[in-house]
């Protein structure tokens, strides 16, 4: 009996090792390398930074290597307003986009959850359907739609909303349209998952106790869907902060998100240490909402006992 228990717990312990091993190989190790590069200086060399670890030099070589590491790159991204502005712009775009996604995604998810049972799988399918086409192609399609004689301007002119073709492309508006379009499923699906679980009779009980429908939404539906709101917001906010493709293809030159700055440092300036420092600092920024989300998850797990 005890033996069987031990055997099982040994097996369980081994199973737990798998995700840790995965994280160690594919997340921790690359992160350590990136962090190491962020402490170096650029050099016209191969690789394009100094110092490099020289194992043949033995212990003194390692000591020499450690002495050459510095926090200069962090000093640079902390003082040059270019980087700070990029970070702030990314946070702004992510925050506004997440708010827009919530406002747009909530009614969609609510409608899906209230739809007849038989329709729901089809509606979920419809939300997931865009994933069947490459993300890049869908963003390119938006270039077509948003350009001067594109679909959007044609439509607005037909409807007499505008009388001159408007400039959509290469603006913040285009970024928001692209981001909201691309991330909508990530907002809708977790919201739908929580709303769909909710017992219809709770709304009847609220009505029965004298609560009109609109008020029952705020008193019952909203509080019970908070876990879904948090999950959707985190799933959208975190990747949007680091978004590169959408602002690069749809945005204008005046908007520089941190993903674009990183790309420029890495590929155009060949400044690997600064690019690495930007990435490490970005991770630091994102750790705050991630930890917050983790705590929320923990709490809802405990609630679900």
């Amino acid at each position: 009996m005890r033996g069987a228990d031990n055997k099982r717990s040994l097996g369980a312990r081994r199973a737990v090792l798998v995700p840790y091993l995965w994280l160690a190989i594919f997340f921790l190790a690359p992160f350590v390398i990136v962090f190491k590069i962020s402490l170096s200086q650029t050099a016209i060399a191969q690789p394009p930074y100094l110092p490099v670890i020289d194992l043949s030099a033995g212990w003194p070589g390692l000591k020499d290597f450690a002495r050459q590491l510095s926090l200069d790159t962090y000093g640079l991204i902390g003082t040059d307003p270019l980087y700070l502005m990029s970070y702030l712009k990314s946070l702004e775009v992510a925050a506004i986009s997440t708010a827009l996604l919530l406002v747009l995604g909530y009614p969609i998810a609510y409608g899906m959850a209230r739809a007849p049972r038989a329709w729901q799988p089809i509606l979920v399918m419809a939300v997931v359907l865009p994933f069947w086409t490459s993300f890049l192609i869908r963003v390119y399609a938006w270039i077509n739609i948003l350009q001067r004689d594109g679909l959007l301007n044609h439509l607005l002119l037909k409807l007499h909303v505008i009388d001159q073709p408007a400039a959509w492309l290469s603006s913040d508006k285009a970024i928001y349209i692209g981001v909201v379009y691309s991330y909508l499923p990530f907002m809708v699906l977790p919201l739908y998952a929580t709303l769909e679980k909710m017992d219809e009779s709770l709304l009847e009980a609220a009505a029965d106790l004298g609560c009109p429908r609109w008020k029952a939404f705020w008193l019952v539906v909203m509080p019970l869907s908070l876990p879904g709101i948090a999950a959707g917001a985190m799933l959208c906010f975190i990747p949007i902060v680091g978004e590169f493709v959408i602002p690069d293809l749809l945005g204008g030159s005046e908007t520089l998100m941190i993903g674009q700055t990183l790309w420029t440092e890495f590929f155009s300036n060949r400044d690997w240490p600064v690019a690495s420092a930007i990435a490490v600092a970005l991770l630091g920024f994102l750790l705050v909402p991630i930890l917050f989300y983790e705590r929320l998850q923990q709490r809802s797990l405990e609630d679900g006992r």
Binding site: D199, S201, L202, E204, A205, A206, A207, D208, L209, G210, C211, P212, K215, L219, V220, P223, L224, D303, R305
Partner: protein
Amino acid sequence: MAEGREEPQNWQGREKLPLVRFEGVSKRFGAVAAVESLTLDIAQGEFFALLGPSGCGKTTLLRMVAGFETPSEGRILLDGEDIVTVPPHRRPVNMMFQSYALFPHLSVEGNIAFGLRQEKASRAEIGERVAEMLTLTRLQGYGPRRIDELSGGQRQRVALARSLIKRPRVLLLDEPLAALDKKLRAETQFELMELQRKLRTTFVIVTHDQEEAMIVADRIAVMNHGRLIQVAKPAEIYERPNSRWVADFIGEVTMIAGRIAGAGAIDSALGQLHIAESGPVKAGDSIWLALRPEKIRMSAERPPSDVNSVAGTVFEIGYRGDTSVYKVRLADRSLMKVALANVSARGQAPFTVDDLVWLSWPPDAAIVLTG
């Protein structure tokens, strides 16, 4: 049990308005009629039960009073006023849901106070009334608890307190005890009766459990296929069912087909049987005799000739603890159910399978049914 109860006020004379009146109410879902041209009065202060098999329309009827369903036809009057167009949140009735429908994000207190908060009652009044409800439902000290920390029985009482705090004109109970285990259900039935007597609120309960309906209710409406079959006090429903269907649905019964031979005499496959009163039937009419198992005696010797008697052999015995049910095969191969109290503590049955026995019952024990 219900005989000891006083008559609902204002009811005997019927000259005063009923509290709830259904007037030709029908409800159709597509082609399916859940309730069909139903007319029924419920008096102030009554404990009224809607009883029937699942799908008979009893829950739909209750939900129409709450306002969750709108009748396809007819009117529902509360205190003489048509409430069909009044939305649920403005009706002075409250409902206790079968699933309890407690708000999981609110505490026990938060749940109970929910209704009063919608009325914008003062903080002091809410606190006072919540405390009163906690006492009434024996939940003192549970106020700050979370719903998921409560047992099934405690949740049931929170749901009850929440539906009573607004002092509704009618409390609607949708299978309120269905989720409880048998013992707790039996206790809670008496608690519900006590509560109803104390508050004098009109209770309308929906149940598929005939025993529950008979224990708690002053009057029972037996429903089938969306129609009322019989509306009467529990004892009347049991002792004088108005149809074979009711006799069969409520309690256990053995039916004997027969024909009226003359005054108080019936010809049947079991020979001539005697009844105390034949009612409005006349000689030659086809009728059914309904016999409750507990009204039949079983003996080894032939009984005296002033009672009806038939001979048979014990076919099957179902031991139930307090009673045993015997199925006895008669001369015409039919089975008659007999219930005997197990008075001996030894658990020794007086008869066993294949015993030859005599079954007898006095003329006034049988119910004569024509339909």
